[in-house]
């Protein structure tokens, strides 16, 4: 069984007339780096909330279809049970840190689970070192930059050692350089520890190169779902206006003009540059 599996998932917020996501059936394998993208309001955040039980436990509303996460049926297990398997990092770094020091924040989840003190200490130090915030451990969250705050948020879910980390536009409050650094941290977690990553992101230019699998949503439904390069190269992806990487677009245009390029589709400017160099040399 895949680590996340949904079947005909349809969800309507309480008081809403139309469902925010409709007939979503996806499969995410263990260890994948998945990108979810799509126009604003298409239901990306709503889908993320289904992965850790915020929907239906926190939001209530009407849930139809099925969601399995790490083998657990989401509506039959409480949020804190699911929290051991799935960590959720939110958009606004400020509103997910509650403690008065970085290390207390990273420890918060483990304290809630009643993990013994020396184990908390070990895991907190481990998570802070991995995310590069160990030197900030005694600082208060509001003395930190947005990028640092977002790393604290990542460390605080990482400390709970989940198999899956879901990040909902974690860098939309950050500058491009800060964003790039966050993506590198996430990528490392994926490669080194095999943590399944689900990243919601608009800026495909920066992130497509990390992803094995991409899901494009539109208007509450899954529009495209598959291997990153082929999905981004498709006509549908370009038409929905998700801002496919410039390198991919350039590749498509050059291909049309019959430039003799390799058949692997580039996702980042580095890959594109290497490809062009190859062509120029061969001439």
């Amino acid at each position: 069984m895949a680590i996340i599996e949904t079947e005909n998932l349809t969800y309507t917020y309480p008081g809403a007339t139309n469902p925010s996501i409709r007939n979503v059936s996806i499969k995410i394998e263990k260890g994948e780096f998945v990108l979810i993208t799509g126009p604003s309001g298409c239901g990306k955040t709503t889908l993320c909330r289904c992965f850790n039980g915020l929907i239906p436990h926190f939001y209530q509303g009407k849930l139809e279809g099925e969601v399995f996460v790490a083998g657990l049926k989401v509506d039959e297990h409480s949020i804190h049970e699911l929290a051991k398997h799935v960590g959720l990092v939110f958009q606004n770094p400020e509103n997910q840190l509650f403690a008065l020091s970085v290390e207390k924040d990273v420890a918060f989840g483990l304290e809630n689970l009643g993990v013994p003190r020396d184990e908390i200490r070990r895991r907190v130090d481990w998570a802070m070192k991995l995310t590069g915030i160990y030197h900030l451990k005694d600082r208060a969250p509001n003395e930190l930059s947005g990028g640092q705050q977002q790393r604290v948020a990542i460390a605080s879910v990482l400390a709970m050692k989940p198999e899956i980390i879901v990040l909902d536009e974690p860098t939309s409050f950050l500058d491009p350089l800060g964003a790039e650094n966050i993506f590198k941290v996430i990528y490392e977690l994926n490669r080194k520890f095999g943590i399944t990553i689900i990243l919601v992101e608009h800026r495909l230019d920066l992130t497509a190169k990390y992803a094995d699998h991409i899901i494009i949503m539109d208007n509450g439904e899954i529009l495209l779902d598959g291997e990153t390069r082929s999905v981004l190269n498709s006509e549908k992806a370009r038409l929905v206006g998700v801002g496919i990487p410039k390198a991919t677009r350039l590749y498509q245009i050059l291909k049309k003009d019959r430039v003799n390029l390799r058949s692997t589709i580039p996702l980042s400017s580095d890959e594109m540059a290497a490809m062009l160099e190859e062509v120029l040399k061969s001439k």
């Binding site: 850790n52 915020l54 436990h57 926190f58 949020i79 804190h80 049970e81 929290a83 051991k84 960590g87 959720l88 939110f90 606004n92 400020e94 509103n95 997910q96 840190l97 509650f98 403690a99 008065l100 020091s101 290390e103 207390k104 420890a107 918060f108 989840g109 483990l110 304290e111 809630n112 689970l113 009643g114 993990v115 013994p116 003190r117 908390i120 200490r121 907190v124 005694d138 208060a140 969250p141 509001n142 605080s156 879910v157 709970m160």
Partner: protein
């Protein structure tokens, strides 16, 4: 604001900061109690002076002075009302005794502010919450406390931003009579409240996602343990308490006027 500024905690490394907040709290309570059983100037002065070493050891003299300055206005009011009442009580006569007793009652207030400010200046909110937790105060309450401390500067910042934004749109805060001025603040209050509600929802979501309420037996990264200095402070506090009660019961306290033979 200055009174609160004078109570704001800053991270400093000092023996006073390292003390167990529970012991410090007992100390403050004892000083409170002693200040209330004396109404003569000399013991209250002594009480004021014996706390100065704490201020110096805690390296908080600057903030401490600021908190006293913040309290000065109230102190003056206390002095004046007491003086006026004893002036009237003495049959509209100015006496040295009435001056002294007004001074004494003012000093009582100053001692209260002094010990209070030492406590808050040298106790981190984190430690305070830990102390509450370890005295079996429900965790929800301690959490509410630290979160409030955490978000006060954030909300203050936000209020300032909203104020600037509304001023840029032509809102004039300082115009009109008293009622009108209060009304001027509505365009600031409403966005502030709306955003606070949104913020609290996001916080709740984040808390839930991090296993809030998973078990009744919550653990904590830190525990407070009493060490040598805590026992020393406890001994000092007991000493002060016993001495003070003994003096109150068995030793007549001379007034400054008598000593100076006015």
């Amino acid at each position: 604001m200055s009174v609160f500024d004078g109570l704001k905690f800053r991270k400093v490394k000092s023996p006073i900061h390292d003390l167990d907040p529970r012991v410090k709290f007992i100390y403050v309570c004892v000083i409170f109690a002693i200040a209330l059983i004396f109404w003569e100037l000399i013991p209250l002065l002594i009480l004021f002076l014996i706390q100065l070493p704490f201020v110096l050891l805690g390296k908080v003299q600057r903030q401490w002075l600021r908190s006293l300055r913040g309290a000065a206005f109230l102190a003056i009011i206390i002095f004046v009302t007491n003086f006026v009442f004893s002036f009237i009580g003495a049959g509209y006569r100015f006496t040295a005794e009435s001056l002294e007793s007004a001074f004494a009652l003012t000093f009582r207030f100053v001692v209260l502010v002094e010990s209070f400010s030492i406590f808050f200046l040298t106790t981190s909110p984190d430690n305070l919450s830990l102390a509450l937790e370890q005295t079996r105060v429900p965790y929800e309450f301690c959490f509410a406390f630290t979160t409030a401390v955490r978000f006060v500067p954030v909300l203050a910042n936000e209020a300032q931003t909203i104020m600037d934004a509304q001023k840029a749109r032509g809102l004039e805060l300082e115009r009109g009579n008293f009622l009108k001025r209060i009304k001027n603040y509505i365009p600031i209050l409403i966005p502030l409240i709306v955003s606070a509600i949104r913020r609290s929802l996001e916080l709740a979501e984040a808390m839930e996602s991090r296993a809030w309420g998973a078990t009744k037996n919550r653990t904590n990264l830190y525990v407070l343990r009493m060490n040598k200095n805590d026992f020393i402070l406890l001994a000092i506090t007991t000493g002060i308490l016993i001495t003070a009660v003994y003096i109150r019961l068995f030793i007549p306290i001379p007034s400054v006027c008598e000593l100076l033979e006015i």
